[in-house]
């Protein structure tokens, strides 16, 4: 994007979980940046580590199982201290907002919308009276497009539709006027027409507030519509990183190519066979040696099975972790 300092910078992040049979590293040497006012899409299939990366940034890895082994996370150039305790998570919550996939589980079902919103606001503006916070809450609900906000404040989460609940979550996430918004599959549980509404809302909020956004999704369509840059994750690593137009036009990594080709489009012939990636994503405790995609890759050779390719920086900010991308591009 630009040469100016990114708003969020994650370097060499390694994190994982202590499980019954030992430690499993879930995110392995992941680096990415979110430009000021820009949107980075973090794409991959279930279990690739995209959500865990986001939770690590937020300091929200489940404790005590979750561990950040190494890596730095910097917000507007200042490194964030390693996550410990709720207090720190709150600081992060203010400068980095987060929206989750399922708003019903993120909202407390026994509290009214108003109380939950005002509670969040009180953290950010401790000096203010409840009346002032209430007015601010109404203003926020208006901003996220909720009709009749005064009435909604008195309602419980179950009284709202899925789309409305997600709007409330977004209102809470932007309450602290964050510099970065992390959205983890915020539209996956929603119907497609409601998804369109929420994506429009996020775009508009981003324009109004100049927030950077880290958008986590498995849906390439959403990435194409919303993001400026994309990082593709596979089995805990970033395998490709590029501006969105470049990625869709010239995908380099065989995994990215397979992913893009396996989505039926409105212009692919009906009932034709879809391109597929053979096999399944390997379990994190049974990764193949060398390149993690080597056991599913149609182009893999002995080098791939022996040696893990590094994420190679290349011109035009198009980075790829594949031994053979040059040959494949030709």
């Amino acid at each position: 994007m630009s040469t100016s300092q990114p708003i969020l910078e994650v370097r060499n992040l390694c994190c994982g979980f202590h499980a019954e049979d030992g430690y499993v590293r879930v995110v392995d040497d992941v680096s990415f940046t979110v430009a000021r006012g820009g949107t980075l899409g973090l794409v991959g299939e279930s279990g690739c580590g995209k959500t865990v990366s986001a939770l690590a940034v937020m300091g929200l890895l489940p404790q005590p199982a979750g561990v950040i082994e190494s890596g730095t996370i910097a917000l507007a150039g200042e490194p964030l201290p390693a996550a410990e305790g709720r207090a720190l998570a709150r600081i992060r919550g203010r400068r980095i907002g987060m929206v989750f996939q399922e708003p019903m589980t993120a909202l407390n079902p026994v509290h009214r919308i108003g109380n939950q919103l005002i509670e969040a606001l009180r953290l950010y503006e401790p000096g203010k009276s409840t009346g002032e916070l209430r007015r601010r809450a109404i203003e926020l609900l208006e901003q996220v497009g909720i009709p009749a906000p005064e009435q909604r404040l008195r309602e419980y989460p179950h009284q709202l539709s899925g789309g409305m609940r997600q709007r409330v979550m977004i209102a809470i996430a932007i309450a602290g006027r964050p510099e970065v918004l992390i959205a983890d599959e915020p539209t996956t549980a929603l119907d497609v027409t409601v998804q369109a509404q929420i994506l429009d809302l996020l775009r508009q909020l981003q324009r109004d507030h100049g927030m950077g956004m880290l958008f986590i999704t498995h849906d390439l369509g959403v990435v194409a519509e919303l993001c400026d840059e994309v990082a593709v994750m596979y089995a805990g690593r970033i395998v490709e990183r590029a501006p969105v137009h470049t990625l869709f036009k010239h995908p380099r990594h065989p995994y990215t190519r397979g992913l893009i080709a396996s989505v039926p489009r409105l212009d692919t012939p009906a009932k034709a066979r879809l391109e597929t990636i053979e096999g399944v994503v390997p379990a994190l405790d049974a990764l193949p040696a060398g390149c993690r995609f080597s056991n599913r890759c149609p182009f893999a050779d002995d080098t791939c099975r022996a040696l893990a390719p590094p994420l190679e920086p290349s011109p035009l900010q198009h980075d790829v972790a594949c031994h053979h991308w040059r040959r494949l591009a030709a």
Partner: protein, 341 residues
């Protein structure tokens, strides 16, 4: 022309809503409210719509997994309401279902072998040795090793479990499979594998599929015809090429325009609908979509629009479909039609 494999006429399913200490009935959820369609042998009919539109209930009512309130379901010309218990048993072999989450439909305590042999046992087919062989053959047919018979459902990934669900559904060589969000929970790369498997099996076995899903790009890919549901009613039904190239109903247009396209170069106008789907308890009078429709007029709030033919095999239920501006620019329409050839 021979009779269709499946014919559904004016199917309705209402669930009573009760309240108060005497649980008096205060209304009905109109889950399915007068749905009619036909399905031919070897054909795929896609049934799309958003949560709560009644598409899942349609599938289950057809299979009699939930009893219908009214309407007629004909399978090979026979009215299923008049079929006796013994005949039902035989009919069950011809009609199967695949669910969204195979983990919930596979007994976690049974081995894959037991699960796959069960349909044969229930219908008294084959000897024990034959059933074991058939189970192994089914596994290989859906792309799993025959050795899987001794393993349990939790040992498999989501995609593999869906393969097991498919193996069970095709065990008795059915004529119709209801696929209820069968690929919705799967990752992109796995979803493509399962879609291919279903298409292969359909070709081999002349299977008719009722493909229920909310993912329109997948539905278009697998379906010959597509029915769009809104609030318990079908609002438009057409060939999958026509419905994407020339959607007539304002709801279909909004639905299609909301699909995110995996191509950043392609920008197009999106119709963003206001508000939410109304409650199916005492739904609005007139056209079910009029509360959100940008083109609604007074007549829409009063009368349910009748079916109108917008082209060969293209039915639409909208008072105003003739007056609407074109939904899709010409170049884009041509591209879509070319693609669906």
């Amino acid at each position: 022309m021979s009779a269709p494999l499946l014919e559904v006429r004016d199917l309705k399913k209402y669930y009573p809503v009760r309240a108060g200490i005497f649980l008096r009935k205060i209304g009905d959820v109109h889950a399915v409210d007068g749905v009619s369609f036909t399905l031919d042998r070897g054909e795929t009919l896609g049934l799309v719509g958003e949560s709560g539109c009644g598409k899942t209930t349609v599938g289950r009512t057809i299979l009699n997994l939930v009893p219908k309130t009214s309407g007629t379901v004909l399978f090979e010309g026979r009215d299923l309401a008049t079929v006796g218990r013994r005949e039902w048993r035989a009919l069950r072999r011809d009609m199967q279902i695949i669910f969204q989450d195979p983990m919930e439909s596979l007994n976690p305590r049974h081995t894959i072998g037991t699960i796959l042999e069960e349909p044969f046992v229930i219908h008294g087919l084959g000897t024990a040795a034959e059933r074991r062989r058939w189970a192994a053959e089914l596994l290989e047919r859906v792309g799993l090793p025959a050795s899987a018979v001794n393993r349990f459902p939790h040992e498999f990934s989501g995609g593999q479990r869906q393969r097991i669900g498919i193996a069970r559904a095709i065990a008795l060589k059915p004529k119709l499979i209801v696929c209820d969000e069968a690929v919705s929970a799967l990752d992109v790369s796995v979803r493509a594998q399962i879609v291919n498997l279903l298409l292969d099996l359909q070709r081999e076995m002349q299977l008719a599929l009722l493909f229920i899903a909310h993912d329109l790009s997948v539905v278009r890919h697998v379906s010959d015809r597509v029915a769009v549901m809104y609030l318990g009613k079908i609002v438009e039904l057409a060939s999958s090429a026509d419905i994407y190239a020339e959607p007539r109903h304002p709801y279909t247009r909004a639905l299609i325009s909301a699909i995110p396209i995996p191509d950043p170069e392609q920008r197009r106008s999106r119709i963003v609908l206001e508000g939410d789907v109304p409650s199916p308890i005492n739904p609005p009078a007139g056209c079910p979509f009029h509360t959100r429709c940008p083109f609604a007029t007074a007549v829409c709030a009063e009368r349910m629009p009748a079916w109108d033919a917008a082209g060969p095999g293209h039915a639409v239920a909208c008072h105003h479909w003739r007056e609407l501006p074109p939904a899709v620019a010409k170049e884009e329409r041509d591209a879509r039609l070319a693609g669906s050839g």
